[in-house]
């Protein structure tokens, strides 16, 4: 945490009890490629946290380190610690982490194309045994996403991008997560759909699920988030409440495409970016 600039004294712990504590995590792929170089995040219970940054900043890797999905990609947590509700989970198996209450919605949705929508949702409940509650949760997901109910017998591969994002989120919710990790839910969706998806995410959060959302679309993510982290080159370079980040001139310039004063020419922006980096 020493490396990042804190804009004001407001800390994540001011927002609530810390549910997930990622402390100075380093991740290495294939034993040689270091992607995370000491990432620290504190996720308070019941809040929405945005993790922003450009391509290749290490956002997805951070999510995978938390959700235990590094192994299939030949990665592992080399240093640092991750603890969820007081228990250490770094390098634990994916199933163990899902059972403990962390579920990731993968980037690009990754629905099971050849399964019907309802079957997609049912796979989400594989780690659970409480049949009655599972049935209730399924109905509740249809309440959040009424469209999925209408299409429940349809093969998921033949649905639209927005519907697939709903399926992916619904599938993750079927695992009854306490912490939901979302990897770029806006990817490839029309602006109206993005707005809709983020409203549903807000609903899910209001029902008690903590949300950690990775986004490139900073303005929409900060629109619903309570707190945000900005990553660059494998490190957190800036953090603050959503309000603070939204009003930060650098964030505005780099991630929201608005700058103070008059519009700059393409040339000027390029040189500006080159001159000024976070680190």
């Amino acid at each position: 945490m020493t490396e990042s600039k804190v804009i004001s004294p407001s800390r994540p712990s001011d927002l609530g009890e810390i549910q997930l504590d990622v402390n100075n995590v380093e991740v290495v792929y294939h034993d040689i490629i270091q992607v995370l170089r000491g990432v620290s995040l504190e996720i308070p219970r019941g809040k929405i946290i945005a993790l922003l940054g450009t391509n290749g900043a290490g956002k997805t890797t951070t999510l995978r380190a938390i959700s235990g999905l590094l192994k299939p990609e030949n990665g592992f947590v080399k240093a640092g610690s991750i603890s969820f509700e007081g228990k250490s989970i770094q390098n634990a198996s994916g199933q163990k982490i899902v059972k403990s209450g962390i579920v990731q919605v993968p980037e690009g949705r990754r629905v099971f194309k050849h399964l019907r929508i309802e079957e997609n949702l049912r796979v989400g409940s594989i780690t659970r045994t409480d049949k009655k509650q599972i049935a209730k949760d399924l109905l509740h997901i249809y309440e959040i996403f009424p469209k999925l109910y209408d299409l429940r017998r349809k093969q998921a591969g033949y649905t639209s991008g927005g519907e697939q994002q709903m399926i992916a989120i619904g599938r993750a919710l079927m695992a009854a997560p306490k912490l939901l990790l979302l990897d770029e839910p806006s990817l490839g969706l029309a602006p109206l759909l993005v707005k809709d998806i983020f409203e549903r995410i807000k609903t899910v959060n209001q029902e008690g699920t903590t949300v950690l959302v990775v986004e490139q679309n900073a303005s929409i993510a900060l629109g619903i988030a309570d707190y945000g982290y900005i990553m660059e080159q494998g490190k957190v370079v800036l953090e603050g409440t959503a309000e603070q980040l939204k009003n930060n001139p650098d964030v505005k310039e780099f991630y929201m495409g608005v700058s103070e004063g008059k519009r700059k020419s393409f040339k000027e922006i390029k040189s500006y970016k080159r001159r000024k980096r976070w680190m």
Partner: protein, 296 residues
């Protein structure tokens, strides 16, 4: 007409053996994309265990069948654990090579037992064939068709109704996404091998009771699986069943009608492949194979 019906019935009963054998093959391919070359050996081992339990331990043959299917479940798990699990993450072609090695290993091991050289038969356990209107229907054929029907009904139920079965199909679709909701991919692979060994044992029982226990002809059924699954679609259970029956019936019809015309005979072995090629020209994924869904 009676002759045609006779060929049809024989064909369906042989086809149901192919279907059972192909079923296990399809399950493994479906969940892990691995082509199992050891399916024939699994059939033979199942058939031999039933013989050993019935003739040497004097357990009634039906109970032997049930016990053997249970034993096969663990054989499948064991094979997956020992030979396939260490290969997770390796290129598919290497894993397929392992199954070829496994086939050779298993057939080598069979020659340590009396079954390698000694063609045996199950003791007669069914009444005489049914005869009417010139037709002869063996009870073994009826039993074979029944066992296949039972197996397929249970598996169909499992794959469409139970969360574990649906998850197995999910793994076939997208392993990473399955992992993300906590599906144990290892468990799914193990279960696929266990189910494959179980259906192979059932197939072994039917083959053994129809044609006797000769190692070479038992493993040959494993090879017959290939035209069946290519015809039905490599990843379709329904395809395995229908493909199996089509191949079985075509074989019988060709033997019955063409062998007399073609000098040298043996058309039963060739004709199904001719039809296979024609069908594949029209439907390259097989009759029921999964066509890749591409959204543009």
């Amino acid at each position: 007409m009676a002759y045609f019906l006779q060929l049809l019935i024989t064909g369906i009963s042989i086809g149901s053996i192919y279907a059972l054998a192909a079923l296990g093959f399809v399950l493994i391919y479906k969940s892990s994309r691995v082509i199992n070359f050891a399916q024939g050996e699994l059939i033979a081992i199942g058939a031999f265990i039933i013989y050993a339990l019935t003739v040497w331990v004097h357990i009634p043959i039906w109970i032997s069948l049930v016990i053997t299917i249970l034993i096969s479940y663990f054989i499948g798990l064991g094979i997956e654990r020992t030979f396939l699990r260490p290969m997770i993450g390796q290129p598919i072609i290497s894993v397929i090579m392992v199954t070829i090695g496994l086939a050779n290993l298993l057939s080598g091991l069979v020659f340590f037992t009396p079954f390698g050289t000694l063609p045996a038969r199950y003791p007669d356990f069914l009444p005489d064939p049914i005869r009417f209107g010139g037709l002869i229907i063996k009870w073994e054929q009826i039993v074979g068709i029944l066992i296949t029907t039972i197996f397929i009904t249970i598996l169909m139920w499992f794959f469409t109704k139970s969360t574990l079965g649906i998850s197995m199909r999910a793994v076939a679709d997208d392993q990473m996404a399955s992992l993300s909701v906590g599906v144990s991919v290892k468990k799914v692979f193990a279960l696929a091998w266990a189910t494959a060994a179980m259906s192979a044992a059932a197939a072994g029982f039917v083959v053994g009771s129809l044609f006797g226990l000769e190692f070479g002809s038992l493993t040959a059924i494993g090879l017959r699986v290939f035209p069946v699954v290519v015809l039905g679609g490599l990843d379709s259970i329904a395809g395995a069943v229908i493909g199996g029956i089509i191949i079985g019936v075509l074989e019988q019809l060709a033997t019955g009608y063409l062998d007399g015309i073609v000098p040298g005979g043996g058309t039963g072995d060739v004709f199904p492949f001719v039809v296979l090629i024609i069908i594949l020209l029209i439907k390259p994924y097989g009759l029921f194979g999964t066509v890749e869904i591409e959204r543009v």
